[in-house]
Symmetry: D2
Subunit: 439 residues, 4 copies
């Protein structure tokens, strides 16, 4: 093989430098011959800025990796070995609407959960399906590595409603938890492996292996004795530590996004305070992004700037590079991905997406069998999977009733009446991106 | 057979007259030779009042049915054919504590849901297990017909943690829904049958048959066009109609208890208003009960007084008589009961309790197969089943961590921190009835 | 309702008089206004003979039931309420070929099992699919009541490969077992109900209820102590009693067709002896049929002749009338039918056909949940279900490889090499009826 | 770690030199400090011969590995890191009886299948349970690596009827198939990985990966075009090639033991011819073993003699060393083992043993999820799993009825009557080793 071709949809994203850094780091084992950064006309300026940085990074590394910028997606896809997706339909303004409208009605409208996750999915899925159609024609052997949120619903929709099965969803949460657990346990992260049970942004660590040996009881004990400030958490959500009794009752460590579900009251209060102080999260992110792009413009910059790690999605792109490297080299190592369940969790549908530990081979990720979800975490996971499936179906069919049923049965929504109003307002706000609901 | 023997645990309950009326009505086909009303010393006065009425009712009906009052449970159980249970550990004062403590922390503490249901289960299960132990010795062929709430958790606990399988849980909700649907559709209730999917106080009507033919689309349409005031609802909870879109999205009609889950916000606001006005529901019920017992004392009364129907549990006891009659006569008719799933719902455990349509035979209820729960209702049902299983396990083991995990993962609780506090306060309040947690 | 319309495909069958008798008996509760007997041109003479008898039977009964004979299937289907099917593609000569070719190679080629069942299914399924297509157009609300063998595979094929779900498969074996068990236990058959587990011609009685009460231990004991000659069996297969240890080890009573599987050696030897004596079973049946038709011609005959009961399929048609009557009257009684599993047996696919006890309502049969098949009978049932599914798929796709895989994995076939030869010879012999394999 | 301790039960086996060679080869990564060869008094002479060779082999390799010979199992188990088992209760004479008695009645009595496998399991399981009891006391953290046949039933019994879960069953068939497939495809075996579906000695290769990429269609094509003599097969059973249509119909490659099931007729004829010529297989093996031990006695021999590879179980012991090495080093590589299913195959019980591709970690093997077994192979696998479960249960309970049910439902047995006779004779023949049946 004389190097691989990567097409990155949403190439103008502020995350791109991490992706480029990832490919540079791995060049010896996984040589990228061409990296195509694709964006839409509205993103042309950002593409040109971040693309310029990407080119400088490669040049500084002295590698024969060609970085191409284009607005023509089909040109980028033709013959690609891997397609990565990191786009945002309607850009951050759409997210602002999601978060604001939900919050105005007393709901959490987070990017991947509740009403916000629902509408981001509705906007994203039709575009992903377009990409899949193009891939079938232009690069039928390629893998689609998706880190466009909500990764869980997007992966579910592709697995259920297209005949494309070479899709891998990715998230930085498992990696962050691995780092966190390694820190608690005072070991090198490389020595830590986890058993994950559940879904994207809704999983639980149900076992931890250090040097391959299960030591979950010790990890739970350690969690319970550690002072709160050393627990660590994800950057982009408020860190509320779980009570020791919750952790011992679950016998599982929830991903930090579960804060929205298990500390809904406190999260909502915090979002309301934040809103008073500086608007919704998307508005903060817009500001952060603007600053990042200012940095990226600097022609002397030819490495990924440290500030990107503050952005909230650190390790996302690195996870993508790592999966690609393992597929290219048939490494057979264990990584944490969103894939077709295939029976690994027996009480979730075999054809649904799950987030789990999988062996990454040249034939793609092969999930390790977990068996039945423990009862203490099963209810919560089943509810979110039902939500994901309803949203995916509504994204395909344009069924508004299903949106209401999905939101009302989601624990983040506490009112049928409110759900109806919020959905109407969000449909209206995003009309331009939701043709399936306005036919 | 020269008549059957019934033992009613909690015989001093205000519901007893309905039970007696039910047996009188069915005497020809199902002759009760002896009806033993059992209570504990604290309930002796009520037992004597309601027992007196029972005896007058039987006498007025001119039937050779012997009504015996006793504080000796073992005497009542010996040789019984059916044991019905309708007791309340800690009486209504315990329920007052459940509701008040939960509400003080912003949670719904309803008798069968959330924190209230949890603690009623914790108090009830050890007593039910005692009864089961006695039954194995004294009436091993008898059926246990339980309508002590929370019926779902109590049935789950008996099925999972004892080796007694002749238990049937009963509730008046299915019958009420049948009446309601008959009224919407303008037909005699006798002509209506339903497919129920789910759990006690957490089920959905997923099909309706008139004269045996499915007409669910018509029922859903009718629901959507009917004015709210004609929908009808259960007496003891606030009636909030479901939005048409929710009903069409679910393609299922939720039992009214689902109001707590799908209109949590409004229910909580109402409970707070009610509390301001006249205390928690249990306090209202205490008043109603006191009035009922005043009526019962009237030596000229020898029928079930109309006011009992206002009490909130109408049809409960009649449902029990109806099931007993069908077992005695091997009727093979379809009734709605809480029984071992046995595979009728494929994505709930075979050994768990479900509420469903079952054929009632001399060998007990045989559930009709439903297959997989539809995705739109699956999440909610799975969550409550997980809650029930955790509470049942905690009732047996005295594990406090499990209580926290159960409550935090219940959609009625919006805060891990609050759950910890509420559970501590409730454990303390009910210490006398919860030896398993204070060993 | 002013009476129902029945269309009977294969109306010229020798079984028709039983069907007519069944409708006459039930006229009061289930009045048949029109009974259309349909056949193909090759069957015209038999149709006219048996149709004449049918008309004389109805006349003698003095009922306003119109019996119509036709070669135009569409005319018969138009507006029908029930369609019954009892045809035989290629008539008895085709069955002769099935049995002879298999036997020549040392295999059992019985009508519903092994190579014989396979090829009868391959010939029948395309015709059934034609009928279903016509029904969708001409009588979309009708039920298809099929007793054309192999009932299990035909039902499986309709459920899996068409979108028609109003099909009920019927067999006389459950009724015969009910009679047999009643005789062993010295009770009236009306008092006996059974739990059936498995498939058409491959089921096990796993519980027996007398007056509704389970008494399976007594039934098993009785089986073990009864002298062989009182066990009784089906007319058309050799009766080999099961060993007591087998029955106690299975804790189940196999339908007599299981003799082919559990006494393969003896059955094969018997078939070889029979063949020497008087040819294969189909040849004997041809003789019996010829004699029956001679009887039917007698213009003085106006009742079902006793000799029909010797034919081997007694009760088949009566079972059909009984199911039709229960649907028409929404009886809610329990009958034994082949229907969509729908989860009643949790370890068989929900969408597959099973044979089971079902409640017969105006909405069709509703199977009673059984749960997981006991391990001792699970293997055998799974194997035959896999065989049925492969044959059904091959009938639709014309895939010869699948035929080989199906036959080799069937326990009646003991050689891959022989399976290849037998399949080639049978494909050739039935070429005219198997266009799907000769495209 | 200063080296590991291995205890090998049945250390006097002729296979031991392969095991010793395996440990010598892997000494650098997996240093064995002590290798304890344990046997019973009857095996003392063989132990001394093969133990002598083992000591010479280690000495010649110049390694500080201590080889200890003992008749005291507890001494060997104390503090062991791994326990391997390769014993034969009743030695080869018991196997002679299994094979002869079955064959006299027209049945295949092979060591791991049918009546032979059944009785070897009945003799072996009580001894394995004794070992497990000792391990719990003397080396509770050790892994039990079992290659005593029938590996499938033994593993099932330990998983179901003890609380020991650190057991790995091993077989050389997967490795042999890997070599075979590599040869067909003309690639180095190291480049080949397989997906295995099924059970010990009853599995199917359902996918093949070369350099990690699935190429199953090419493998199937290659199978179909290859001349028979290049297919290769296992040494100890007759090689009958599968028909191309069978392979294409199954879309799976059966392990060669399936010959017994798919070519029963030819296998039985061959066994009868062999018997005429030189007795049953066990008698041939006795001769081979005697010759091997003659070789082993040679004091100049200090390597594993080539002749051992002719014995029929080549690679068995090497597979054990390989698994041990991967556990010790947390390699995370994929090997083929018998382990708890844990949901990897969704239509087999989670708690049952399966044979599958698993990732070998320091925490033991983790099976890769396969999902549902394809219908074409499901029936056969379900039948054998049912057989295994019944035999395991009978081994524990001494239930003779269950033996009959198990054998009659096994496709290798074609007669209930014969099964009864064969079981009686085998019980009598092995009375000394089957106390559970003679209590």
């Amino acid at each position: 093989m004389d190097g691989i071709k990567i097409a990155t949809i949403g190439g103008g994203s502020s995350y791109t430098p991490e992706l480029v850094e990832g490919f540079i780091k791995r060049y010896d084992s996984c040589p990228v011959r061409e990296l195509w950064l694709v964006d839409i006309p509205e993103g042309e300026e950002k593409l040109s800025i971040v693309g310029g940085l990407a080119q400088r990074m490669v040049e500084a590394a002295g590698l024969p990796m060609e970085v191409r910028l284009t607005l023509d997606r089909r040109e980028a896809l033709a013959g690609a070995d891997f397609v990565t997706t990191q786009f945002r339909v309607g850009q951050l303004d759409a997210r602002v609407a999601d978060e604001r409208i939900a919050l105005m009605h007393g709901l959490i409208g987070q990017e991947t959960n509740g009403a916000g996750g629902m509408f981001k999915a509705l906007r994203t899925i039709p575009v992903i399906f377009d990409i899949v159609r193009d891939m079938k024609e232009l690069c039928p052997d390629a893998w689609l590595v998706n880190f466009t949120n909500p990764v869980g619903i997007v992966t579910e929709a592709v697995l259920r409603y297209t005949d494309w099965d070479k899709i891998i969803g990715l998230c930085n949460c498992p990696i962050s938890m691995r780092f966190g657990i390694a820190k608690w346990m005072n070991v090198d992260p490389e020595r830590v492996r986890m058993e994950l049970s559940g879904l994207n942004h809704h999983f639980f660590v149900t076992d931890v292996f250090i040097d391959g040996k299960s030591c979950f009881d010790e990890v739970l004990d350690r969690y319970c004795e550690l002072p709160v400030e050393e627990l660590g958490t994800m950057k982009n959500i408020m860190a509320i530590p779980w009570s020791n009794r919750l952790i011992r009752g679950l016998r599982a460590i929830p991903v930090s996004y579960l804060n929205y579900y298990f500390s809904t009251r406190e999260e909502l209060e915090q979002l309301e305070r934040d809103y008073e102080a500086h608007g919704v999260r998307a508005e903060v992110v817009k500001q952060v992004e603007a600053e990042l792009f200012e940095l990226y413009k600097n022609q002397d910059l030819h490495v990924k700037p440290k500030q990107l790690e503050e952005r909230g999605g650190a390790h996302y792109s690195d996870a993508a590079c790592s999966v690609i490297d393992s597929i290219v080299n048939d490494r057979g190592d264990i990584q944490y991905v969103d894939v077709r369940n295939n029976g690994a969790v027996t009480n979730l549908p075999a054809e649904s997406a799950i987030e789990c530990a999988a062996v990454i081979t040249a034939d793609g990720p092969k999930p390790i069998a977990i068996g039945e979800l423990p009862v203490a975490i099963n209810g919560s996971i089943q509810t979110i999977k039902a939500f994901e499936r309803m949203v995916a179906e509504a994204a395909v069919t344009g069924n508004r009733d299903l949106l209401v049923a999905a939101l009302v049965t989601n624990p983040l929504c506490d009112s049928d009446a409110v759900a109806n109003v919020v959905i109407d307002e969000l449909l209206e706000a995003h009309k331009a991106y939701l043709p399936q609901f306005f036919a």
